[in-house]
Symmetry: C2
Subunit: 348 residues, 2 copies
């Protein structure tokens, strides 16, 4: 069907080898011959068959990335960052989604193995997983992999991610320092590592201020999404009238909470402050721009890709997460209570 090396060779009156050599830019081929070949290839609309090329070279030039959800702009952005990093290195990115199910993660990882990617980046599903069956296949086939964004609890493997604990600590600490005392925390699945890390950070901040944590203020949401956060906030507002801050695990949840707050006409941040996580683009364009913790995706992508190539190169990496610094981004949803108090004093 399509034009092949052989066609070009025939048309140019040279051997396939010469065409191959010429096309791959080696300066082994005589300039004149090369020119001739290139002209014919161009004219014929020749495109090398990378399947054949990969097979012959024993290198696919591809890297696989699995994400739980491609509709989520957080991952959308991450994909783009990784793609850019790989393009610089002349590699092709293959993306697949696990649909946030472990079965899906397993399936796409196996597909990647079959496609003979040279390495795999895995953003794990948002649930704890006991036994990662695809690992042996990965090692059997000698394909290096690296977790990104998060990792699994009982699996010692290299990983590149944001220091979620530190991020949660800084956020909580900031809220406490600015005068908040009743901090509710809307969390997702508590068995999942990223949830646990954030909660740890929350506790630490309280400890740092010698304040006790009220366990009841950790509100469990079945899923860490808009709807569940919205519902949880409604319930919370009905019961806990003393709340002066609501923290969430991500910006989408924060938007859900914000919706509930606006509906009830509760002034944000004057009566209740609101905080998200991730710094998804929409958090800055909400009705009230929300304070959040940024995960530096470009850096995370670059670090992950670099590390993965180290693995591919045969180096070994420590089997534990490499933590990237988070960054607190303060917006209008959390004006300082201190400040308010000061202002009130002044008025008096």
């Amino acid at each position: 069907m399509s034009v092949t090396l052989k066609d070009i060779a025939r048309l140019a009156g040279v051997s396939e080898s010469t065409v191959s050599l010429a096309l791959n830019g080696k300066n082994i081929v005589k300039a004149k011959t090369k020119e001739h070949i290139l002209a014919i290839a161009e004219e014929q609309g020749y495109m090398p068959n990378v399947l054949a090329k990969s097979l012959a070279r024993r290198q696919s030039g591809t890297i696989g990335l699995v994400v739980p959800d491609i509709e989520n702009p957080f991952y959308g952005r991450f994909i783009r960052c990784v793609d850019d990093c790989l393009a610089k290195r002349n590699y092709t990115l293959l993306v697949a989604t696990s649909k946030d199910q472990f079965a899906g993660e397993k399936r796409v990882v196996e597909t990647f193995i079959a496609e003979r990617v040279e390495g795999i980046l895995i953003a794990p599903v948002h649930h704890p997983v006991k036994n990662i069956e695809y690992l042996s296949k990965l090692t059997r086939n000698g394909i290096p992999f690296l977790y990104v964004v998060a990792y699994y609890a009982d699996l010692a493997a290299p990983c590149v991610m944001t220091d979620l604990e530190k991020g949660a600590f800084e956020m909580t600490d900031y809220l406490i320092r600015s005068g908040h005392r009743s901090l509710y925390y809307l969390v997702g699945n508590r068995e999942a590592v990223p949830t646990q890390l954030r909660i740890k950070g929350y506790y630490q901040a309280f400890a740092a201020h010698h304040l006790p944590v009220d366990e009841n203020k950790l509100i469990q949401c079945a899923k860490a999404d808009f709807t569940h956060a919205y519902q949880a906030t409604r319930k919370l507002l009905a019961a806990a009238t003393e709340a002066d801050a609501i923290l969430t695990m991500n910006d989408i949840m924060a938007l859900g909470a914000l919706r509930a707050l606006l509906e009830k006409n509760i002034p944000v941040p004057d009566r209740i402050s609101l905080a998200g996580y991730d710094n998804v683009v929409f958090s800055s364009v909400a009705a009230i721009p929300v304070t959040t913790v940024e995960q530096n995706l470009p850096v995370m992508a670059e670090t992950a890709v670099k590390s993965l190539f180290q693995l591919i190169g045969g180096e070994t990496l420590p089997a534990k997460p490499l933590l990237l610094p988070p960054k607190l981004i303060i917006r209008e949803s959390t004006k300082s209570k201190q400040e308010n108090k000061k202002i009130q004093e002044d008025v008096k």
Copy 2:
């Protein structure tokens, strides 16, 4: 490095052919042999090399999809829909992004050709393009393609998309019928087909009501995004105090406009109604949920995939867009003026 057919054959004491036959589920192989082979393959973590398989079969089992922007949840959702459609047919989806640049579109299409995808779905860049250089390569290599979401003005090619004109018509018509008279329209690049179609729908609605269109109410934004819509709205509000509705080309722009409106404390929809397009998930969770036009992505994906497979099967499709019906989704950002008026009357 990795386990191959040959390894399994050796271990099982049979020929490679038998292993291949057994693994591909043909019931040609004796049950006992098959069982034995399968056990060994499993034990060895064997994964077939799809590169070799594709080469031998002369079929890659892959379909390429190019989108302008993977961070945009509109495309994220579309990718997911297409992926689902292809999974049902046992095909693998390859996604690449053009970064909304024609050079990028060309590049990724060529990559897809090199990867020998069996067909390509192209969501074109948001700019008009004079000469599509990759077309000849596509036909030379016999790879069917289909535009989705939009198409290029002077290219007669099959396409599957929403009837954007009708959507804009219905939205405008609805706004006029509900009493709006000064409808501003924030539009993007007017040379791009999707912009033109929407504007056409806008004009038609005015015509249907025997009303004149005020050209000056079409506000050109350099880019159809949040920031430009925000700026344009600010400018607009300063000048046009009689405006009673703002239409935009997509929901992201609507959010930008909404931000400007909220900042100026302009009641939405009481003083000004606001409308978006696309029904991106965030449009329903905005501070004020925005009225919009839904593009039915699951149907679009299914139709596109079906059409593409018809092309792959050798059928020819009409070289013009297949239009899918849009759906008006009315939310709080456009309460009926009629109603308001009626209510006011009642009060009197």
